[in-house]
């Protein structure tokens, strides 16, 4: 895909246009618009920023600034399953880091890297607000809790890897 070729689906573009008038200011639609790009594309490519700037009639620099600030917007492509293992304090106390390291080894990736078959990315992330079920991971938008390595692998297998 060339730099200028990004486009949302027809429904996606309509969604963004609706969001522009949903809030008191159209700027508030930037985060929802970036989510829409990510939903359709898996990550937010540089060309999407320019595309949104034109669609939303907002400065490209502003959209880019918002995009760069928030960690949930993927700056690079991820695998089909984005496995985010919490390594903050309560999860670390209960084996979160060991779990993340084992998953990296199992899928033969470094943290943040996409596996050779494109199926997974394993990331270490900060507190996901599920500390009573530590260690835990978020796979795409799903929380998988009370884990050990075997249980994590079983859950991932059910999701197709």
């Amino acid at each position: 895909m060339s730099e200028t070729a990004f486009e949302l689906s027809k429904e996606g573009a309509e969604f963004v246009k609706k969001e522009l008038s949903r809030y008191e200011t159209k700027h508030s639609a930037i985060i929802p618009a970036l989510y829409q790009v990510q939903k359709e594309n898996g990550w937010v490519p540089p060309a999407a920023i320019n595309y949104l700037a034109q669609l939303m009639e907002l400065p490209e620099s502003h959209i880019n600034e918002v995009f760069m600030f928030y960690t949930m917007f993927n700056k690079v492509p991820t695998g089909k399953l984005h496995i985010q293992v919490c390594t903050n304090i309560s999860c670390s106390m209960n084996g979160g880091r060991e779990l993340a390291n084992k998953l990296c080894k199992h899928f033969n990736v470094k943290p943040g890297e996409v596996s050779a078959d494109g199926k997974v990315t394993v990331s270490k992330v900060e507190c996901l607000g599920s500390c009573d079920t530590a260690p835990m991971m978020q796979v795409n938008d799903r929380y998988v809790e009370n884990l050990d390595f075997d249980k994590a692998l079983r859950a991932l297998k059910e999701m197709g890897v």
Binding site: R22, Y23, E24, T25, K26, H27, S28, A29, I30, I31, P32, L34, Y35, H62, E65, V66, F69, Y70, T71, M72, F73, T87, N88, I89, S90, S92, M93, N94, R97, E98, A100, N101, K124, E126, C127, L128, G129, S130, C131, D132, T133, A134, Q138, D141, Y143
Partner: protein
Amino acid sequence: MAVQETKLLTEHYDKNEFQGLQGYLKFGGYEDLKKALKMQPQAVIDEVKASGLRGRGGAGFPTGVKWGFLPKNNEDRYLLCNADEGEPGTFKDRMMMERAPHQLIEGMIISAFAVNSKKSYIYIRGEYDDSIAIVAKAIKEAYEAGFLGKNILGSGFDHDMDVYKGAGAYICGEETGMISSLEGFKGQPKLKPPFPAIQGYLKKPTIVNNVETLAAVKYIIRDGAQAYRKYGTEKSPGTKLFSVSGNVMRPGNYEVPLGTSLKDLIYEYCGGLRPGRKLKAVIPGGSSAPVLTAEEAMKVNMDYESLAQAGSMLGSGAVIVIDDSNCMVDLLDVTLHFYHHESCGQCTPCREGTGWISKITHSIKNGEGTVKDIDLIKAVSEHMMGKTICALSDAAAMPAISFVTKFRDEFEYFVKEGRSKVKEVAHA
């Protein structure tokens, strides 16, 4: 279990039907909204003031007093619910939104009526997809039932409510950071004053309250301020949800009166530690709260004043219980990595300071530290406090100072021996 929780807010959380409107109505849902709409708005504010309710998100500021800061005119004003729950160790708001979304919505409509706000948002952290879907559905149900929209229940009061999904930034839990984010910008906090009550969302008067705070308003209206004050202490009235995690037998959310002893919370409610383990430390109010030694923890009560007196804070009510299998150098390293990652970057003491103390701690953990580094962590941290727009810098400095002061022996052992006094540490 030997002890019972005091289930005021969480009374019906064990019932699945409580999540939907029909189930909620069965257990007295929206009855307190009806009651409030027959009162004068100022009477609702007075009741909340009299209850002594304090903000449950972290700062503990009296809610009624905060509401009282709004200008006395008819200018548009906003009510924002802070559901960005990001303080490590905290997971109560997620439970509240998923088990009882209408409880929050009812508390919000009552609060909005009190402060005469026609529009509110619930800002929910982006990772909480389930909470977002459940709350959005509940808002739709509330509109259909006439609890939201124009002329609510014939009272003449109009109110609209919407959900906004955050996108992964701890700093958006800070009220002015959240406002920046909702306005469509980077979630950077703004200088105060002006406080949001005077100039907040889109420069309009704005009240920002936590999920638990807004939900509690319903019960203050239901039972009255005096009945609410039967729970808790004189200066910390009411019940509080504590999110307990770490090395306890039964981690989870517990609703207990403020002033409950930390000892009871850990040993009675949460079933104590794992067999053969000894308590080493407790972080009583989320990872930014100064750590307590086991000895301090066994003497303290869980209310705002007692924890402040013990040199820590109640914060969001996230209790992280640490047993003797943990290395304190390791846990400080994990904690500071987080604050460095989450610094929004606009104030130098925070942007640079969180990086420095994180790197120094990390080098100690890698066996490359010196005794001077321990003092350096403390010195840098002291220069990070009270010098920035928001409290994130302090949130990193407070654990750093308390860890290296109270567990200095572990830090010294590490720099002298090049390894942990306790165990092989994992590297993230």
